[in-house]
């Protein structure tokens, strides 16, 4: 049950990224700053904090693959990066004490690594023409801030799902 609800929740975030959020972001109104909405990645990170690195890795891989198939110019970059981020977040949950602040810090850091990783792969394979300075100042930096702020409701959403449907895994940074 909780499995399907999580899939539904993450798919919902995935759809928000491409459709609903697009007209409301600054780049749609002519701004130089580009906010890259990655709610799905935030969801994967927070899920991984709850359920551990293996789950993070698997969910990350499948949702990354979904992204690659639907938007990406090639298959594999997002699948790889999102899986790695899920794994890293799971590792972090084993090393540090729990708490919502820590969760948000992890999300911010995970988003930064994810953006950097995808950008580097795209640059390496010449799939994007965006210059490095432009990418850091106008795209990654605002995107990390934006996604960290938006991660707060996602954090509550995921906690709610676990409390409601699977109290066994309810605690953040769960014991294994």
């Amino acid at each position: 049950m909780v499995f399907w609800i999580l899939i539904g929740f993450l798919s919902f975030l995935f759809l928000l990224d491409g459709t609903v959020l697009q007209p409301f972001l600054p780049q749609a109104w002519g701004s130089d700053f580009v906010f890259i909405p990655q709610l799905m990645v935030s969801g994967i990170i927070l899920l991984s904090l709850h359920r551990g690195r293996r789950v993070g890795l698997l969910y990350g891989f499948f949702f990354g693959l979904l992204y690659d198939l639907s938007y990406g110019s090639t298959i594999g970059v997002y699948a790889f990066s999102t899986a790695v981020i899920g794994y890293i977040a799971g590792q972090i949950s084993r090393q540090f004490v729990s708490g919502p602040i820590m969760a948000l810090l992890t999300t911010g850091m995970g988003q930064a690594i994810h953006l950097l990783m995808v950008y580097s792969w795209y640059r390496l394979f010449e799939l994007t023409q965006v210059g490095a300075h432009d990418a850091f100042m106008y795209r990654m930096f605002p995107s990390v801030l934006f996604n960290t702020v938006i991660a707060f409701p996602i954090y509550h959403g995921i906690q709610w799902i676990f409390r409601r449907y699977s109290p066994r895994f309810g605690s953040l940074f769960g014991k294994r």
Binding site: T19, W29, S70, Y71, V77, V130
Partner: protein, 297 residues
């Protein structure tokens, strides 16, 4: 020593997945004529769900932007009323000319059957990461959309169809031209036509780059740039933008112009795919010629 590497399973898996990544990226990047069926199914279904999400959002955003524009509209209304008088006169003139044109065409038995048609589509999603500027539209090969067809809005050209499945298509926007083939364009400058290639986009100045223009061409600010009918993929005379600044080209023997795009690509809701029968026939013909040539060898 070699077997020690296998002992560290995690490192091994990481290396293996990096290799796998390079292989899949190498195989799937670049121009592809069609998708594999699993990818087509995923793309179709996501585009369908996206379109369910997109419709209410567009209604909302349109409503918001209308609200902001009320003041502007009343001013515009006044001006339009002024212009309307002139338009009436023009209309009657056009009607006469059209009638005359039709008669003349009938006389030379000219059948205009290769007129380009447009297919209206809804932009259902845009790539969230703007590393590549693409949109997904909800019309596919079943509706007559094919790869490489130009996509326009009422203002002008915005891109081309990069790939299409049954019920959706990926549109590569002009701002992404760096990774696609250049667009053959010509500048309407009086009698002579100056040709050039739209190659790349300057994100700082927000201008398209029209390169490889002949040094003899005398371009001026404000001249319109349209697609060239000689191009294999774009049908002719689609408005791209206006010339803004002319500089010496990167090779020293040519000129380069900054072109201000006519259509705004920041916020797209409805777009039109231009289906030009002549270009389709050309494509089929090309394929046939290629086939025959290959057979001979």
């Amino acid at each position: 020593m070699f077997f020690r590497l296998f002992a560290n399973r995690r490192l091994f898996v990481l290396l293996l997945s990096v290799i796998l990544l390079t292989v899949t990226v190498g195989m799937t990047r670049g121009e592809r004529d069609s998708f594999t069926w699993p990818q087509a199914i995923v793309k179709n279904s996501i585009a369908f769900v996206d379109s369910l999400f997109a419709t209410p959002v567009y209604t909302l955003t349109n409503w918001i932007s209308e609200l902001g524009n009320v003041g502007k509209y009343s001013e515009e209304n006044r001006q339009l009323k002024k212009e309307a008088n002139g338009v009436q006169q023009l209309k009657s003139q056009v009607a006469t000319l059209q009638e005359e044109n039709k008669q003349l065409k009938d006389q030379v038995n000219y059948v205009d059957r290769n007129r380009a048609k447009t297919i209206t589509a809804k932009a259902v999603a845009r790539t969230p990461d703007r590393w590549n500027d693409r949109i997904v539209i909800d019309r596919g090969t079943k509706d007559g959309v094919a790869k490489d067809m130009p996509v326009v809005t009422d203002k002008g050209l915005i891109g081309r169809v990069k790939a299409a499945t049954g019920h959706m298509a990926d549109v590569q926007l002009l701002t992404d031209t760096g990774s696609g083939p250049g667009i053959a364009a010509h500048v309407k400058s009086g009698k002579e036509e100056s040709f050039g290639l739209i190659e790349g986009y300057d994100p700082d100045k927000k201008r398209l780059l029209l390169k490889k223009i002949s040094p003899k061409a005398k371009l001026k600010k404000g001249q319109t740039v349209v697609t060239s009918g000689l191009s294999d993929i774009y049908s002719g005379d689609l408005l791209i933008g206006t010339v803004e600044r002319v500089t010496p080209g990167e090779f020293g023997v040519d000129q380069m112009a900054y072109v201000k795009p006519a259509a705004s690509i920041e916020h797209l809701s409805y777009v039109m795919v231009v289906r030009d029968p002549t270009k389709l026939q050309l494509k089929v013909h090309r394929k046939q010629v290629d086939k025959e040539e290959n057979k001979g060898e």
